[in-house]
Symmetry: C2
Subunit: 356 residues, 2 copies
Amino acid sequence: MPTLSEVARHAGVTPATVSNVLRSRGRVGEETRRRVLEAVEALGYRPHLAARALAEGRAPTIALMVSSIANPFYPEFALAVERAARASGHFLIICNTNEDPQLGRAYLEQIAGTLSEGVLVTNANLDFADLRLTEARGAPVVLCMWERPLDPPGLPCVAVDFRLAGQLAGAHLMELGHRRIGVIVGSKVSGIHAARYDGFVDAARAAGLDVPAAHVRQAADTVHGGYTATRDLLEGDPSITAIFATNDLPALGAMQAAADLGLDVPRDLSVVGITDILPARESRPALTTVAVPTAEAAELAVTLLRELIEGAPHEAATGTDAAASGQPAPRMCLASAPKLVVRASTAAPRTQSFAR
Amino acid sequence: MPTLSEVARHAGVTPATVSNVLRSRGRVGEETRRRVLEAVEALGYRPHLAARALAEGRAPTIALMVSSIANPFYPEFALAVERAARASGHFLIICNTNEDPQLGRAYLEQIAGTLSEGVLVTNANLDFADLRLTEARGAPVVLCMWERPLDPPGLPCVAVDFRLAGQLAGAHLMELGHRRIGVIVGSKVSGIHAARYDGFVDAARAAGLDVPAAHVRQAADTVHGGYTATRDLLEGDPSITAIFATNDLPALGAMQAAADLGLDVPRDLSVVGITDILPARESRPALTTVAVPTAEAAELAVTLLRELIEGAPHEAATGTDAAASGQPAPRMCLASAPKLVVRASTAAPRTQSFAR
């Protein structure tokens, strides 16, 4: 493959002039420009992306850190991110951390600021200190689905009101008449799904219900995790008539458990999740869930990252902390509110006389 | 971030010497080596991956072309590829072609040989001419799941015997006693699933059965495609007792259709697919399928690609064509044979007196 230098030699100009012509920058006379373009044509020169990125002090990819590409949410999200990234001429490198902060750190150290000019982070279980170090090295970082808009993370982020999502899911079950609801939290109790759980508790309080500890299980954020937790909940209290899971995967696991226990969903057990991943739509019965604006969040995240890369001035925060410190707070974009999507996995509980 | 040149200046040596020290190459005296390492330490220099790749005439990523990252097979495959790639210090760029040869060509033109030193191709609907052009530009190409080991593609590939997979799926249904089997081909009739269909026909012939055109549907290789095709097949012939789909996604769609028609799987309708993606294991009933060696194929593909990148001598083909032309045929690695995995979606048909 011919190099920029060979094009320059062929055209009798400096490499910098060739670069200026190809980038439409600097002052280059019409005759020189013609000579350069002829040399490009004659040699079949293609601009070297990595070389150009180096020359300009930036790299042509962005990195997306995900906890597991095998979790169907991330491919859907990655697809939306990639669409947005491609629209701005960026390639997407997907890095699987497998929820391992060490592996995440290795990725960040090796690619941020070199291969990739910016990093999008989903719930990849990364150490915030590592992310701040990445920023300090010159590669902007954006958290893609920050779950608590009222509690900013101190890094640029796209926030989704997941507490509202939990509240909508809970209120739906309670409005149908459910009083004994098993809750599956797909993270540590204080982990990333805590806001979703808090929203469910909000709904319970508004309906005058308790959320006894015996009705709450912490589980792996997987189909299998939801399966095991559901069996455990129903063994502990067979009078449970509904399951709220903080994510669609464990909700799908709850439906599996119901099937294996011979329970009909929704006649014997209602199930509701959060997110609206594709398998939620494709399951039978189709899963009632609270849809979060995945594609919109992806677009907002890419836009925000690009603005940070291009050094657009940070919007000053309006909060008093920021004003007092004189430091603008990192930007936060709030995505649209989650929405309840009622499908076939929820219904009113059977009346007591028909209960198991 | 300090550059190699700054390290060189600090140590009073040439950039080439710094590079040699960091790469443990060339002859460098002990005193010089010590000075360079001190300068690296003092300036906090980190080797610039893209720069190093450029300097060495190679790039540190490989690209994986997939037709849709939203199809659950590809994330599973990408995960296996990434594991293998990371083991050799490569990063993986996943490119979604969305089955659009134009988009695929754009990716190939922009990244092959520049950002990425080699390309892995799954069923991405790419033009072979584009792939050969990519090879000619110096970026090796490996087809990851070639479906017809007896009909090599003329490009390096990992082959999986998908005709055998179709034969195993068909034989399983026939051994259970099914005689009226609906067939869903998840590609054009002559497309990538043709070998799987041929294998089914092999099994039918061996069992003395016809495969009437009225029992075969071509469909999109999606859950929805399988759903529609199944409803269509059962409307056309309600006496069908089993569905063979050339892929798990349409097989899962067949189970959805059965659920919506009030048919019990497997009592009223048996369903079998091919691949063994995660949702096949997670569906209820769990899907009987023919598992293909996904992880093994990913590892073989990465190994083959690395050998091509590193310029290992091509193994000469034993075929007479290759011998006659004097050109070694592109290498083909054959992955292990597919295996039938019997789960809960297949059973003997109900006897005629109980049939619908």
